[in-house]
Amino acid sequence: MKTYNFSDRPDPVDGIRDRVESLVTLPNAQADVELMAAVAANEPSAQRVVAQRLAPRVRKVAGLLCRSGADADDAAQAALIEILRSAASFRVATSLERWADRVTVRTTLRTAHRERSRRGLLERWVPADLLPWGAPLVRSPLEEVSLDALLGRLSQERFQAFVLHHALDYTVEEIAELTGAPLGTVKDRLVMARKQLRKLLCAEARTRGGDR
């Protein structure tokens, strides 16, 4: 494996291109710091390496937090740009993947919020005869409650808290910090989301019981 020494390279930018390839093969935190330093120095090959390594994960996190695939693609792209632009702030104290996850979550929440505001504006132009109905018209009572059905019924805030805690394993404190909501509000959103799930399951059980 190719090795190199910082001391023989007085200019941190020059020659980065030569060592990017060797850095990616070192799966340790120091290698990640150096790789991100190369990204921060606008080294195109380092940017490509980081983008290719993190893109699947970024897309997954964005996909979990967005309700539509198109929004998830937009959010993933914005998050990837943000990760590469913020490369200089990456420190050895955290893993690159976990750090990228946080940047992705922040960017995706921001994108989702913006998208929601935009849709709110568009809604003003929805013909009145579509109001106040907007829910899907037909749903078979025999249809089993799926996770997606539950997620589809949660409000944006509860949905985000639910996904961040139960899928992405963020603590309540971390969610409060990421979403800018007070701790109690985050807990309330998690509890209410769970209550909605419970209600849905009970309604399903009653319907099935009634059918039998």
Binding site: P44, Q47, R48, A51, Q52, A55, P56, R57, V58, R59, K60, G63, L64, A76, Q77, L80, I81, L84, R85, L121, R124, W125, V126, P127, A128, D129, L131, P132, W133, A135, P136, L137, V138, R139, S140, P141, V145, L147, F162, V163, H165, H166, A167, L168, D169, T171, V172, G180, K187, L190, V191, A193, R194, K195, L197, R198, L201, C202, T207, G210
Partner: protein, 525 residues
Amino acid sequence: MTGHDRRWDELQTRWAQGERLSAEDERARLAHAEHDAIARRELELFAEMRARGAAPGDPVAPALIGRALEALNGSPRLRLVTATSERAAQAPVSPGPRSRVPRLAVAALGLAVASAFILFFGASSRSRPTPPPVVRATMTPRLARAELVLAAGQVQVTGRRSGVGQNPLDQGESVTTGEGRACLTIDPGIDVCLAAHSAVQLASLAAASIRLRVERGTALATLSRRAPGSSFSLVTGDVSAVAHGTTYAVRREGDVTDVIVVEGIVEVTRGRDTRQLVDAHSRVVASLPSGTLVKTAVGRREEARLVALGAPRGLWSGAALGVLELTPAPPGALQATIDDEEPLPLPLQTLVGAGTHRVRWRESGGAESTVLTDIVAGETRRLTPPVAGSVATAVVAPIEKPSATSLLELARRELVRSRPRQALVLYEQLRTTYPTSAEARTVLVTMGKLELDLGRSQRALGRFEAYLRDGGTLVPEALAGKARALRALGRSADERRAIQQYLAMHPGGFEAPLFTKRLSELGGP
């Protein structure tokens, strides 16, 4: 629910909100699910959620990576091609009446030094190509955009007449009100509204620390949560009220400063030592001689008065905005309301969302006239009061005929504001103005639903039946509404027939499960 179920529900709620359960509680939580089908299903759904998070990353289209890299590297950079341009950028030196000899000597000396420098360093750097010199632009502090968005009555901006929708305000400029009101918006998400006889100066528009000096009167600030490291403050003399996302007002009368917090928390500081956090529905009074901050509660009436000051904010909350100008009228003789908001003095200039707005002029004698006007984004719409001081004119002022779409949009806005009665009036106006239009028919179902919500079941029934006479895409909703209206009227036999009709036509309809249950309750054939 049995005691056992309750215990499980409590444990599951605690677990779901992120609490770490003891080993014993965790065992109990999981054990219960083995005997309870619903609990088991709930745990399965949570496990599925966790599995989604733990799954490997999604396959990504190469185009996504390509676009991200392109966007990243496409950001503008300043790169100098020749050194001459760098010299050209310097300020030109004015020629003085000096001799040429010293200048020639200096130039010769400079050339000699440059030649020696090139000879010395040129040899050492010959091995690698010299990159073009990169000049990094110095970053000046980012300034927030501040703009006058409402001027009603007597309003001045640094001595000149107000100009809503014109140039943004500069740092150091002042906004002053006489018998009038004004609002300004500062990015991102700050609205500051001034009461009558008030003045504020834009002391700092640096995005990281926006500061407005309240010279006199009352300024109400409503702001969204600030980003970390950014702050907004209203200051008077040595009193500063810093907020990070709240609604609060600062009132200055002579040496007395009054900070009133409507929502959130505001940090009030005086000088270097005195600092106090003021929470919602509280006020802090700072008077100059005593130098102390006295905290008391705020009455509902005063709070309501402050909230009303910021009420017009909804007018310019959208993205597509135009300017609405209601031309001058004798001061105090007229007031105008836009979209049933608070009455505002004239003349009035305000940014409003594109679309149809209802402008109502009110003469001091009580006569009113209403005009519906369409605002186009980016354009100015000037309206003249139809009264011009004459009551008779006001009463017979012509009313513009709005389009069906405009009426629908106005009704939609009323619904968003939870004002079903006003929405019904607009729907009725649509049906009267455009009786043969498609909208006139489709709104019948919405009207029926609203009547039902208002407890007017007989009227609701009439709306639904009117729609069902000719049919349409909303027949399931109309049938469901009819059944509900009949139930509210206690006409069980008719209700049964309506439900049967619904179930026959839409067995998989959204309301089918509920109606099936209701039908069994009603009994009969």
